[in-house]
Symmetry: C2
């Protein structure tokens, strides 16, 4: 363990930094950001170019990542049954609610958005396929946590970087445990401005054939539209659809 190859770690950092810059970065900028010598960065970039992960703009000299990362990354989720199975349900949910509907899967302490359906009329939400968020402050994350053993919940909590995103974020483990009990009881989770002000989401978990929560769906909207009455109605649909998807994945009862 703890056996890290320097050049590789540095290269991955380069990719991570570059992925944030749509128009790419120059060599000098990059080496400052990473606190590495120019020649080192240059050499690593050359390698990335040869391997097809980065390209250099012939006129500005800026380096930016190619679509190869996207290509590789997509493979990982492409052969997930859940994507295909959930699609029609996501659409229906969106049509019924006229709000943004997300599909996420879990990876350790985080959730990753892997699909999204929004109506033309919807206000553009601050979400993105591929985005990673912590479980503890999202409706989908909490919805999945509610069905895990207490031990595992504590584990997630401890490994998470708990951050008070808004005044409503739950930052206390005991409060979270109470919240999870409530979620399990009523069948869905609510994120009431815990992640982002003015935004309310409800989420419910999807279960695989072993009964483990493996994904989740959420309905999100501005607090002005996500009223208690509408949530009352939405949650019923949400629970119904997530159960349907779980069944298609082989979940029994």
């Amino acid at each position: 363990m703890q056996d890290v190859v320097q050049s590789v770690a540095r290269t991955l950092s380069i990719l991570e930094v570059l992925s944030d810059y749509e128009d790419g970065l120059g060599l000098a900028e990059l080496s400052i950001k990473l606190d590495l010598h120019k020649s080192t960065v240059h050499r690593l970039l050359s390698t990335l170019i040869v391997m097809g992960y980065v390209e250099q703009n012939a006129v500005t000299n800026k380096y930016k990542i190619t679509l190869k990362l996207f290509e590789l990354g997509s493979k990982r989720i492409a052969n997930m049954d859940i994507l295909e199975i959930a699609k029609p349900y996501l659409k229906e949910l969106m049509e019924k609610t006229n709000e943004v509907v997300h599909l996420v899967i879990r990876e350790n302490t985080d959730i990753i958005y892997i699909d999204k359906v929004e109506s033309e009329t919807t206000i553009r939400m601050h979400s993105r396929i591929g985005r990673r968020s912590p479980m503890y402050c999202t409706a989908v994350g909490k919805a999945m946590m509610a069905w895990l053993h207490e031990k595992e919940v504590e584990d997630i909590w401890n490994k998470s970087d708990i951050h008070q995103y808004t005044p409503f974020t739950i930052v206390n483990l005991e409060d979270m445990k109470k919240e999870l009990k409530l979620i399990k009881q009523r069948g869905f989770a609510m994120d009431d401005q815990e992640n982002e002000l003015e935004v309310r989401c409800i989420g419910a978990s999807i279960f695989d054939y072993t009964g483990k929560p493996c994904a989740a769906i959420s309905i999100s909207g501005p607090i002005t539209r996500m009223t208690d009455e509408r949530i009352e109605q939405f949650s019923k649909w949400l629970i119904h659809y997530t159960l349907e998807i779980s069944k298609e994945l082989g979940y029994k009862i």
Copy 2:
């Protein structure tokens, strides 16, 4: 140039191999496939694990890639206006035709599928978001090539690995030039089983504000459904919608 850091190149190869195996690979398998010593592969994998790109299954010991690659890769296309702009048009095209509609962008000699809309009734196509294909044997690729200068077409051709996928694949540059002339004239391209037997696609290019072809849309279906009469109708819609999208991107006339 030609300055490649060995360990980095090897690591990227590991990622590429791993991305093909949904359930991961064992250390031994990997080292055989890559023709590298076990300890070397192990060290590089440790680095990938520390950096969050790979995880090891605690029970099977198999290594597989995490969603981090997907996360990074998605960033690259997330802030492309084209995705948001094209979405409603893709939907409408699908609804009108009841066939699969794809959105692709170009990267050098290839096209990458970045969005896809299919109806519930559609036969599952052999396509995938994130997939890379050569330009010369796809409707979308040819549709974009038709608007490039001859010089650039030749360049793409020379850099491409021309392969006769089916008896209908165009493998001769002169034939391709004739084909491109025809495409430019009628405004859309057709892939008549050139990429995959039994499949017919039509594609048309989208242009950015500089007038360069920057993306393309295709309608694909089995040859039995993609009759000449339907293609006649589809192509009109396709040309109309791609022009609309181009306009939204700032394309004049």
